[in-house]
């Protein structure tokens, strides 16, 4: 589990790297446009690509720390054992959702490889943008499994709610 935590944190660092690229590419475009009057082609696409990387490299971490937004009204109403059961069900459903997404994205990912789709200006292959989505959702699923097996683990390491 601790290896997984490290991995998921490393992916977050990757996500940070791509946010930096979004900012720098955008600024490079603005400056070049101002100086030469001839802006750079394809910055939009670089931004879109980096956005996919930023988000989906960070997604496993969200599932690992159980950071998905939920409505905990019921915590104030039901007795503890019932609450424990409800939490377990919610965790299993979360696993189901993550699994669903990671299975569903495989087919369009395969299509993107097979058909050779590319972006408009940069020619960035579309499968490359699918890469973080496929990997991110797979690791998110893995994270939900860890949470089911060691439900209390994160309560110790993550100082958020719960």
């Amino acid at each position: 589990m601790s290896y997984f935590s490290k991995l998921s944190r490393a992916m977050s660092i990757g996500a940070a790297f791509f946010i930096a690229i979004i900012i720098l590419a955008t600024l490079y475009d603005v400056l070049t446009g101002l100086i030469t009057g001839r802006p750079v082609s394809g910055v939009y696409e670089i931004v879109e690509t980096c956005l996919a990387f930023t988000i989906f490299l960070a997604v496993p971490e969200i599932f690992r720390i159980e950071g998905n937004i939920r409505i905990d009204l019921i915590d104030y109403v039901v007795p503890r054992p019932v609450l424990r059961l409800i939490r377990a069900i919610a965790r299993v459903l979360t696993f189901g959702f993550a699994l669903l997404i990671s299975v569903a994205v495989l087919s369009p990912f395969r299509d993107a490889i097979m058909f050779g789709d590319t972006k408009y200006e940069t020619g960035i292959p579309v499968w490359f943008i699918w890469l973080p989505i496929v990997i991110g959702s797979a690791f998110a699923t893995l994270a939900t499994v860890f949470v089911i097996i060691w439900p209390d683990y994160e309560a110790k390491t993550y100082s958020g709610k719960e």
């Binding site: 977050s12 996500a15 940070a16 946010i19 979004i22 900012i23 955008t26 600024l27 475009d29 603005v30 101002l34 939009y44 931004v47 879109e48 690509t49 956005l51 996919a52 930023t54 988000i55 989906f56 960070a58 997604v59 971490e61 969200i62 950071g67 998905n68 937004i69 939920r70 409505i71 905990d72 009204l73 019921i74 915590d75 104030y76 409800i86 939490r87 069900i89 919610a90 459903l93 979360t94 189901g96 959702f97 669903l100 997404i101 299975v103 569903a104 994205v105 495989l106 087919s107 369009p108 943008i129 699918w130 989505i133 959702s137 958020g160 709610k161």
Partner: protein, 436 residues
């Protein structure tokens, strides 16, 4: 089983799951998926679900979201927010709840830079919560005014919601922006009235901030917030002079906030790192919900519930004003469960002909719709702005959060009724600017 029945069961399932503390994204995604599968087959549902993450995560317009969140985050970490609030305290000194008013004003100001309500709410949370906490504001007042103020992000231009509406309804974005300006300022004013009302009812929710300062002292206090003023000037100036697009302005803002923090030696390397980490987490969390909301939306499209409703209303031959009031109620209910993109996608193609037939201008309808969307952002159980608050104020229990936001729902509801009776509030400015 008819598709409408499947649709109603789906809505019911969503409510149940959400209240059984299943994460909102998980509930919307699963109900959306299985609902879609029930109507159009399992393999089609899988296909549609599989596309969504890519479509959402590569949406250029949405790239402003992490950037404006980061800008707000770094502005907070370098202490700009606390200085902003000590300055506003001076500026409005002697007035009870001055910081709640200042929050709304600042939200309107930030809304003029950000096209997203989520980004506005997220930024204002970072900027306004710590100082209000410090000044011993009741958290119901601070949370409510921030969540509500955040909605100004999509009514005051620029606005992602209006851009999406323009796409579906084939309307001009500049016209829509011109039309939204006056209602945007009006809504800010109404929110201010709500705060005033709340403070009249419970004066102990906010302190009187200090004693009245002289005019000179008030102006001098503005000098403390030169960084934010500079940041806002660069971002807004760049945007309206045409040098920067919204995303570019967001990138400049984020880097600018970081540079100002580093130059004034108020931002450490550790602050930067934590700031970026938090930004990424907030962004990923919101995108997971956006993906799930998209899946759910495709399901609702198939249920044809809105079509049925339109046919029903069409047969009743109602007075235009009654029709719009009814549509408003419909949106109010829909807004409890759907986020902005879903509300536009599902309803515009169906209601637009109806509304135009009743003699309302399409531009007017766009603004009306955005006001209803804003309402939806602060109504339980699914309200994006509430979730933004929840993600950043983990200590505050959700029931309390809902309670704090509810009085503010009054303002957009009143505004929507006002523009139904006086449509010229919306159409006056675009007509003035664009019609020759």
């Amino acid at each position: 089983m008819t598709v409408q029945l499947i649709g109603q069961l789906g809505m019911l399932a969503l409510i149940c799951l959400v209240f059984l503390r299943v994460p909102v994204a998980v509930a919307m995604g699963l109900v959306g998926f299985f609902g879609y599968a029930a109507i159009n087959g399992f393999s089609n549902a899988l296909q549609v679900t599989g596309q969504v993450p890519y479509d959402v995560a590569t949406h250029y317009t949405l790239s402003q979201l992490p950037l404006f969140v980061l800008m707000g985050d770094l502005a907070v970490r370098s202490g700009m927010s606390s200085r902003l609030y000590s300055a506003t305290r001076d500026l409005f000194s002697g007035l009870r709840g001055s910081q709640a008013y200042a929050t709304l004003g600042a939200s309107a100001g930030f809304g003029a830079v950000s096209g997203s309500s989520i980004a506005t709410a997220a930024t204002m949370t970072r900027v306004a919560v710590p100082p209000m906490k410090e000044a011993k504001y009741d958290d119901r007042l601070s949370a409510g005014s921030i969540a509500a103020g955040g909605t100004l992000g999509i009514l005051i231009p620029p606005s992602i919601a209006l851009v999406i509406f323009a796409m579906i309804a084939e309307q001009s974005v500049p016209r829509l922006y011109a039309a939204s300006l006056i209602p945007g300022l009006l809504l800010c004013l109404l929110y201010i009235l709500v705060v005033a009302l709340l403070l009249r009812l419970s004066p102990n929710w906010a302190p009187v901030d200090g004693t009245r300062k002289s005019l000179f002292d008030r102006l001098r206090s503005l000098g403390q917030i030169w960084e934010i003023v500079l940041l806002f000037l660069v971002v807004i100036g760049g945007l309206y002079s045409g040098i920067l697009t919204a995303t570019e302005a967001a990138a400049v803002g984020a880097l600018g906030a970081w540079l100002l923090g580093v130059i004034t030696r108020r931002l450490s390397w550790k602050d930067t790192r934590t700031g970026i980490y938090d930004t990424i987490r907030t962004t990923a969390m919101l995108f997971v919900i956006l993906c799930a909301a998209n899946i759910f939306t495709y399901f609702v499209v198939l249920t044809q519930i809105p079509q049925g409703l339109a046919a029903l209303v069409d047969g009743m031959d109602l007075h235009p004003i009654v029709l719009m009031l009814l549509i408003g109620v419909f949106y109010l209910i829909l807004g409890c469960f759907l986020e902005a993109f879903g509300m536009i996608l599902i309803t515009v193609p169906i209601l637009m002909p109806l509304v135009q037939q009743a003699g309302f201008d399409p531009i007017w309808f766009g603004i009306f719709l955005v006001i209803m969307i804003e309402t939806g952002m602060i109504t339980p159980p699914v309200g994006m702005n509430i979730f933004v608050m929840q993600s950043q104020l983990p200590d505050m229990p959700l029931p309390r959060l809902y309670q704090s936001v509810l009085p503010f729902v009054l303002a957009p509801v009143v505004l929507s009724v006002i523009i139904i009776f006086f449509p010229a509030i919306v159409t006056w400015l675009p007509t003035l600017l664009f019609e020759r």
